[in-house]
């Protein structure tokens, strides 16, 4: 009988594919599938053109103001980078060579780029990267020599106080991450970011340039600050506006010349239309839906040429900024819904080809599987607080249901008045089993940000940006990326008096005393709080140094000219000065939340309450990684665990969260930044776990921690309802120092079957909204499918799975992460 193993649509399609059947979505999405086939399964190619042109210009402009240098470099790239129009594509614009590709950012890691590329070319990883000898040689001879001594990471490495440096790195050069208080600023010039695409579509860069010119003309020639600061900023904006137009026009020329040689009349006409669009946008306002998509795409791609936003240039609220022209064209008959879907498909398949490649070991470990998050946001509320769902929201959901790719990630904003139809379509998309959409909850995010100081209209208009974070496009002003604190390490240092199993006698944390001398739970808890504060303090120091160092290395004239506040103040977005009117929202990630809570629960219960385990016995068992102590390990695992709506464990979780927020509440104000507590691990739960020996929850040494704010692997035994209530139980509602919290839930396809299953999933989502949790995402997959994919990766090459705020191909993940995903509980019902 097959009664206990229903398949998700994704699993069904993979099974059919193996049996030689075509994807049923193909007929409606011919163009998407045709383009996808040109790069499906291909290892990304490293393209060095952006890096070479950037370096060439930076060499010539030394000594000039940084924003001006950046703009000139962008102009150099715009003029000289090879342009392409892909087979069957309707959109023009890519940042590098055809196929699946990645580009380089020597301002971040130019000093060790040559060695890193050699290592990448040889590395045998699940996600290989292709580096040609020619590219490697160019990097070694033309890029690395210039950047040595000039990169951001080298400056950061020199600027960090030694006591913080040794928590962040394992080497003097600051390349090998120590995942105790790790940073990720050195492999991205900005935290995730989103552009104000509405401005690109509705005003065009000619309009933005005119605005800059007017401001330039109005400067006071006698004011030294106007001359020193505002003038270079505005000149940089003007050059950048010209640069993107130059780049677009080169695509127009290419399209025309391709059309002149094209034999197929249909394709010739398509090429001529592409040419016409590229002549019009992004210079001038878009006049129709197709132009709007092309304008958005140019802006998005050009921002990738500008800077590495940590894998993420978000797509913002696509169903809002495209809606006016969509509606206009549908009403006039200029476009059909199928043609709209085709334009969107062209954009999705373009995104799928760009892979953000990190050269640093830290970046590789924390964002596995060529992670990139171009989150498209739909739904939510309008600036005046009305439901924002429209026909385009549904079309975008439809197009993502049919797509066999993990990109782009789709974010849906839910609120208490979200229409039932919207939730139904969301549930149907979740059931496809590709891990999206993720859900963002307006009922948590809006009031919380009001408390953080956001104006109502701006927060009503927030967009997802990154894996679980949000942005207010014209209000957010902090781009520094943020640190991660290893909660498991904090606990291990309580157990080992400031030391860690992995690092032997090296004193890493505080000497909080031999735990065998603690007389009660309170002693143990106080020792934990001291270790935690020590790590948080180091993370804050790290954050402040990063924030001030970045301003000396990065400028973003494109991102800045699309930001109202930057234009008003004539300040670059990457400044470390306060941009008037801006809100600086940042965070520290706490990694291993549930692993820590379960461990504390086990210590409290077994050592201090039931006295069933002695501290000395516990320490020996942990030191032996439980070898020969299996009975003890099992006894520890029976203590109450987070994720089961059990207040014993959940009240510990609440205290853990509160302690972290209290630190921020006390010390954030003196930094001038909101550095809040985020509980989102992305894939950092794997490398952070690799730093830490066995823990009292029964987790063996070096194994992954729990992810985000999800229950530990296999610990949530009471079903998904109790799991999300536990998440609610552990939030400190009276503190606004909380930031994103990521929650993963895995369902077996069986319990979401049919309309009845969809209906129950919709109810589940409503309760998520009622509980005011920040974020929720689902994997709908059978455990057996994952095991089969491990055994036969070729056959399951296209299997998409949810990781943490993004989806990726399962077979392109490391074995460690694959196993972690398998061990997260699959929620079924009986």
């Amino acid at each position: 009988m097959s009664c206990c193993c229903a398949l998700s649509p994704q699993e069904k399609i993979l099974q059919d594919k193996a049996a030689g059947k075509d994807n049923p979505n193909r007929s409606k999405h011919e163009r998407l599938f045709d383009i996808l086939e040109t790069f499906d399964g291909m290892a990304p190619i490293i393209d060095a053109d952006r890096a070479l042109l950037f370096t060439q210009s930076m060499k010539e402009t030394e000594g000039q103001p940084l924003e001006l240098r950046w703009a000139k470099a962008l102009m150099n790239i715009a003029r000289h980078i090879p342009v392409h129009i892909d087979y069957r594509q309707l959109l023009a614009g890519r940042c590098g060579t055809t196929g699946r590709y990645g580009i380089l950012y020597p301002e971040l890691d130019g000093d060790f780029m040559a060695d890193a590329l050699d290592a990448l070319a040889e590395a045998k990883t699940a996600a290989p990267i292709s580096v040609s000898p020619d590219v490697a040689a160019k990097v070694r001879h033309e890029i690395t020599p210039y950047w040595k001594g000039k990169t951001f990471h080298e400056d950061l490495n020199r600027s960090l106080p030694p006591e913080v440096h040794r928590l962040a790195y394992n080497d003097e050069l600051g390349i090998k991450t120590r995942f105790v208080v790790s940073e990720n600023a050195s492999y991205r010039s900005s935290q995730q970011w989103v552009l104000d695409y509405a401005k690109v579509i509705d005003r065009g860069f000619a309009g933005i340039k005119a605005d800059a010119q007017a401001r330039l003309d109005a400067l006071d020639p006698l004011s030294p600050m106007d001359t020193l600061k505002k003038r270079p900023f505005l000149e940089a904006v003007i050059i950048t506006c010209d640069a993107i137009v130059v780049w677009a026009h080169r695509h127009a020329e290419l399209a025309r010349s391709m059309a002149s040689e094209e034999k197929d009349p249909v394709r010739r006409e398509e090429l001529l239309q592409i040419a016409e669009r590229c002549e019009r946008v992004p210079e001038f306002p878009a006049r129709n839906f197709r132009e709007a998509v092309q304008a958005q795409w140019f802006a998005q791609m050009f921002s990738r040429l500008e800077q590495r936003t940590g894998t993420i240039i978000s797509n913002g609220r696509m169903d809002q900024y495209f809606y006016r022209l969509y509606k206009q064209d549908i009403e006039s008959g200029a476009i059909t819904d199928d043609e709209v879907l085709e334009m969107l498909d062209c954009m999705w398949v373009g995104m799928a080809q760009f892979t953000d490649i990190s050269l640093s070991p830290g970046g590789l470990a924390t964002q596995e599987g060529y992670a990139h998050w171009e989150a498209v946001t739909i739904g939510g509320q309008t600036r005046d607080g009305k439901d924002a769902t429209n026909e385009l929201s549904y079309l975008i959901l439809k197009s993502r249901q049919a797509s066999p790719m993990p990109y782009p990630d789709l974010a849906t904003r839910i609120h208490s008045r979200s229409p039932q139809r919207f939730l139904w379509e969301i549930a149907e998309t979740i059931k496809v089993g590709q891990g999206y959409p993720k859900l963002f909850n307006d009922e948590e995010i809006i009031p919380l940000h009001l408390a953080k100081g956001a104006p109502l209209g701006d927060i009503f208009d927030y967009t997802a940006s990154g894996c679980a974070e949000i942005r207010m496009p014209n209000r957010d002003t902090m781009t520094s990326s943020c640190g991660q604190v290893n909660l498991g390490a904090a606990l291990e240092m309580v157990l080992r008096n400031g030391r860690m199993k992995k690092y032997g006698e090296e004193l890493i944390g505080l000497e909080t005393g031999d735990p065998r001398t603690f007389t009660c739970w309170e002693d143990f808890w106080q020792a934990y709080l001291r270790q935690l504060d020590h790590l948080l303090a180091a993370s804050y120091v790290e954050q402040c140094v990063i924030h001030h160092t970045r301003a000396r290395h990065f400028a973003g004239p494109l991102a800045s000219c699309l930001h109202d506040l930057c234009m008003a103040s004539c300040m670059d977005l990457h400044t470390d000065e306060k941009i008037p009117g801006g809100i600086d929202l940042g965070f520290v990630d706490i990694i291993g939340f549930a692993t820590l809570v379960d461990s504390l629960s086990a210590v409290k219960k077994c050592v201090y309450e039931e006295h069933s385990v002695g501290m000395d016995e516990l320490l020996r068992a942990l030191d032996d990684d439980f070898e020969g102590h299996e009975a003890l390990r099992l006894r520890l695992t029976r203590a109450p665990k987070f994720g089961n709506n059990d207040m014993y464990a959940d009240s510990i979780g609440l205290a853990v969260d509160r302690a972290a927020q209290e630190y921020c509440h006390k010390y954030a104000p003196e930094t001038g930044l909101h550095i809040d507590i985020r509980t989102v691990s992305v894939t950092a739960n794997v490398p952070h776990g690799k730093e830490v020996g066995a823990l009292p929850c029964g987790r063996k040494a070096w194994m992954p921690f729990s992810d985000g704010s999800s229950p530990a692997q296999g610990a949530d035994l009471k079903g998904p309802t109790q799991s999300i209530i536990s998440n609610y139980n552990t939030k400190n509602w009276d503190y606004n120092e909380r930031a994103a919290r990521l929650l993963n839930i895995k369902f077996s396809p069986k319990c979401l079957e049919g309309d009845a299953g969809t209906e129950k999933l919709v109810s589940f989502i409503r309760v998520f909204c009622d509980l005011k949790l920040w974020h929720l995402q689902f994997n709908v997959i059978n455990r057996d499918t994952l095991l089969a994919a491990q055994a036969d990766p070729k056959r399951y090459r296209n299997l998409i799975i949810r990781i943490a705020g993004y989806s990726a191909y399962f077979t392109e993940l490391s074995r460690d992460l694959q196993n972690d995903l398998i061990s997260r509980t699959e929620q079924t019902s009986i």
Partner: protein, 307 residues
Amino acid sequence: MSANALEKGVVFNIQKYSVHDGPGIRTIVFLKGCPLRCRWCSNPESQRAAPDIAWNHTLCIGCQSCVQVCPQHALSLDSQGLHKDHAHCIGCAACVHICPAAAMFRYGGESCVGDILDDVEKDSLFYARSGGGLTLSGGEPLFQPQFALALLREAQERHIHRAMESCACCPEETFLAAAELLNYLLVDVKSLNAEKHQAFTGQSNERILSNIQKVRQAFPDLKLHLRTPVIPGFNDTEKEIAAIAGFARDVGAHVYELLPYHKMGESKYRFLGKDYPMGDAALDETSFSSLQALAGRILPSSLERRE
């Protein structure tokens, strides 16, 4: 606390996020004890009214703690597995408490209505959003009549939607008293053949069928959901199913559903030290589909089988 809330009984499982037994997202409370002994029973741990001590060989780490702690010296553990001298076991559960691996465990424990409803109520948001609530199941919930009625009354006090899965093999007054407290009733009709029913379940079907008819007459608005587990070698014939579906139609069931036989309870027999009575019997998928089609012809409101 009300008298209902203090009532005690034996429960062997509380299952959250149940989505297949009654409307919406539900919590099932499984009561121990059953008057039937169906050969295909997938919950053998539900049959006896008293708690059962069981042993899961896959979890056992062989530490011998249970053997050493047993005050009756009723246990021994060797390479063949755990041996229990049932005559000497007094059910004290010392072995369960000592076992570090949870390989020795107990099916069922006594709890009071108030505590159970507190647990059920933890999901009240989910019930409110989905139209779900409490489902009593078993065993046969009405095998502990006082307790089951107290659970339903307390749930009613707390405005929780109430469903019950029953075999209807109980005194008529009990069945009607429960029905009065219910919003949704699920009953299994296994066979219309009284002798066969007796042979395969240990009880005749007369009282069952009459209880269903009585409930329908007394509570015409109560949602009645009849189900038939399709068991190979017992009722997997057109004749049997046609007769039961005809009964369901005539009695005015709102929903009728065929459930395919499955072997998911097999490991629990092993945990209890019992043999699995059905052996390798298997249900033919095609014939199940045709039986389902047959039921659909007789009763258009029949549910499609869930894959």
